[in-house]
Symmetry: C2
Subunit: 453 residues, 2 copies
């Protein structure tokens, strides 16, 4: 029995011990992973650390109003509103802080005045009528203001202001039923909110300022550079004299344009904030930020074309077999190389021009050279009069074939959704066709041909 | 002299009068425009009007706590927090309200507890040490919490919670210096915030609920339908036996896919909110919302392919001249028509399957037919062994040519930016090349050919 007890002790003890060790192990790996992730976020953009300290600084500054008795006596409990304002108004960029601060200040002023007016009207309606009328006012104004947020222009610029308007009007109108010195209270709140906004603005502008306009400027220039690196890679790897379009799937340059495709929300919000920013560095107050959005939209269209091209190249490169070498493709290839290289040069020039705020001088020359290369390609083809006709239809067909494969992928994905979400079976099971996932190597979707080496 | 006076009176009077009339005219047109816009926003989605009334209702409900004396006595001025909570927590969808409400409740609880703990530590440091230590706590926690918002996972789901955490901790820690009955105050605030959250949730869930999940479901299905309508239009207008690719620029079906390209932010936010929603209608709590995002991402890729195809077709259709009719293009065109039509059928089937939550039965058949059409196109080409080689290079070149034109458009746009933003001239003016804006009719960018009629 003693032996059995020892064993059971051993069994009981060992798993607990090893479990605990493995738990600690897993936990420490997790913690280490988390910290390396946090470190990376800080290293990617050290301004993030600066921003975090700025928020701490602004909060500590504004809380001095609590600690210093003569300051506190002036505002009383309303000092709370200064702290509250700092927390919600402080944004990453100067423009963001300005936009929120001004929205908050003006909305509070307007809603406070309307709230006091509502109170003045309501007190003439007697003991019982007052809360009913106040309730009606709050209902109508809150509903109207909420609806106004669906208007795109208001949503983009004054969304926060509308929230604060509803908030302040409700607070003033409703609490006017209980508070006697309403005007004094409103005055205290306004002053403390102003203190909060001013604290935020000073911290934003004077301590390592982060300008939304500058970020937008850099983002747009950087995106042009990414597009250029795709074309450079293409010209070097695909159309080089000794190169060939084979096994390109892993190449990094084929991914370069991808982040550009989803840049719209970031650009829109930066441009929205940049409008509020005062003149800073090389940017005036009325800098043409909207034009950056136009360049951004064209860049995304360009990235979309690159997506079509990259997909086509990757799909065909994986099943390249033929290796003939007539003259025609060589000439076309030279034209392709020129188109890609000159377009890359154009984009690089444009990116540098934006970065250095200099008129792009050489970009026009490169762009013209790229367009001239299109002409060379056309000339290479026009030797055979029957060919162009076929080529046009065939290009359309190639693009369509890519589309067909992408639709098939969607079909597979929806089928997966149907099984994950337990979609019901169709009532009369007429067809029992199954969607086969796309196996790129086997599908008869593309011509099994390549550029000759 | 009297005559002169009359004239000057007439001159002085008439402009003021007509100015006023034209001002009133312009103003009334503006107001009429504004109201027709507002009406359209309401008609586009009548649930917006419902939401506005719901916000008004929730606010009126929660302000009852002010008007009814026994309720007010229990909470005092803290009742304000209930009103404040309703204004900031109430969102358009149930998931949004739930996400914000839970974030607010838990962040307040956690930060409140930490704030009380910070106060307990600080009071042991004497009269002078207390504000310094409290300030230090606020600084460190606010900085750390702000930095945590840069972690993408936290930003996506708990951004609002972190704001409330900083807010509550600062308020509790800082005001603990002045307030004696801290725990009672914290208790009152928590209760009133809970009242606010519960009011919002009840109004959201029980009065015309708007589910983020259902919206996501409909959005994804609707996007598939849009893609299908592009392909249907293509098959009917471009590859019909009597049709031809000419003057397509104005056709609406060529725009059908465009809104799909920018659907990512909406889908992301809806999926984020849908995760919080309880089981409703045909959707369980753990519905695979992530799979919808996958379908959405593939739909955007598909739309990107359509963009390349539509651009190619539009550019070439405007300068179509040749009208020969060999057999080869006819066969290719038939294959194209089949690819487009069958893909459109696939997408329509998938959209209907999602809409009706039924396993897609016929979609697989249509997808296979579309892939089979790719084979037919390949067969049509393989009659001539030299052709495929040329075709591949030519397709690549076509896509590149589109890219070149898009790059040229970017160049024009940046040039416009340079003039709007007064970019400086480059130092040594070596080149004086000018970028000529792209004139689509004249640029030698594409083959001037069409499909035969």
């Amino acid at each position: 029995m003693e032996f059995g007890l020892q064993i059971s002790q051993k069994i009981g003890f060992s798993p607990w011990w090893s479990n605990a060790i493995s738990l600690v192990d897993r936990l420490s790996t997790r913690v280490a992973e988390f910290f390396s992730k946090v470190k990376k976020i800080g290293e990617d953009d050290p301004r993030r650390i600066g921003h975090s300290f700025k928020v701490g600084l602004a909060l500590t500054l504004v809380s001095v109003f609590y600690y210093v008795t003569p300051l506190f006596v002036g505002f009383g409990v309303s000092t709370m509103w200064a702290v509250l304002t700092v927390v919600v108004v402080m944004e990453y960029t100067v423009g963001g802080t300005l936009s929120k601060g001004l929205n908050r200040a003006f909305a509070t002023l307007l809603a406070g005045a309307l709230g006091v007016a509502a109170h003045q009207i309501a007190i003439h309606c007697g003991e019982k009528g007052e809360p009913i009328l106040l309730g009606l006012f709050v209902f109508v104004l809150a509903a109207a203001a909420t609806f106004s947020r669906f208007i795109p222009e208001i949503k983009a610029r004054y969304d926060y202001g509308v929230t604060i308007f509803i908030l302040t009007f409700s607070l003033v109108a409703v609490s006017s039923y209980r508070v006697d010195e309403l005007v004094q209270l409103a005055h205290q709140r306004l002053s403390t909110i102003a203190i909060g906004v001013v604290t935020c603005l000073c911290t934003s502008v004077f301590v390592f300022p982060i300008w939304a306009g500058e970020d937008l400027h850099k983002l747009v220039a950087g995106n042009l550079e990414k597009l250029a690196s795709f074309l450079e890679g293409l010209s070097a790897e695909c159309f080089a004299e000794k190169g060939g379009i084979e096994n390109l799937e892993g190449k990094t340059f084929l991914q370069a344009y991808k982040s550009v495709l989803n840049s719209k929300p970031t650009e829109d919000s930066l441009a929205n904030f940049a409008r509020w920013e005062p003149s800073h560095g090389r940017f005036r107050f009325r800098h043409p930020w909207k034009q950056y959005l136009k360049v951004g939209a064209l860049s995304r269209q360009c990235a979309s074309s690159m997506d079509a091209l990259a997909t086509y190249i990757i799909t065909t490169s994986t099943k390249s077999k033929t290796n003939t070498d007539p003259d025609l493709p060589l000439r076309i290839r030279a034209a392709c190389k020129e188109m890609a290289a000159e377009s890359a040069n154009t984009l690089k020039e444009l990116s540098t021009a934006i970065r250095t705020i200099t008129v792009p001088s050489a970009a026009g020359r490169h762009a013209s050279a790229a367009v001239a290369a299109i002409g060379k390609w056309r000339d290479a083809l026009s030797d055979d009069t029957a060919l162009p006709q076929v080529l046009h239809v065939a290009t359309t067909a190639s693009l369509l074939a890519d589309l067909v494969l992408r639709v098939q992928k969607i079909a597979g994905s929806v089928e997966e959704l149907a099984s994950l979400a337990h979609f019901k079976q169709p009532e009369p099971p007429v067809h029992d066709a199954k969607i086969k996932p796309v196996a790129d190597e086997e599908s008869p979707s593309h011509l099994s041909i390549t550029l000759e080496k």
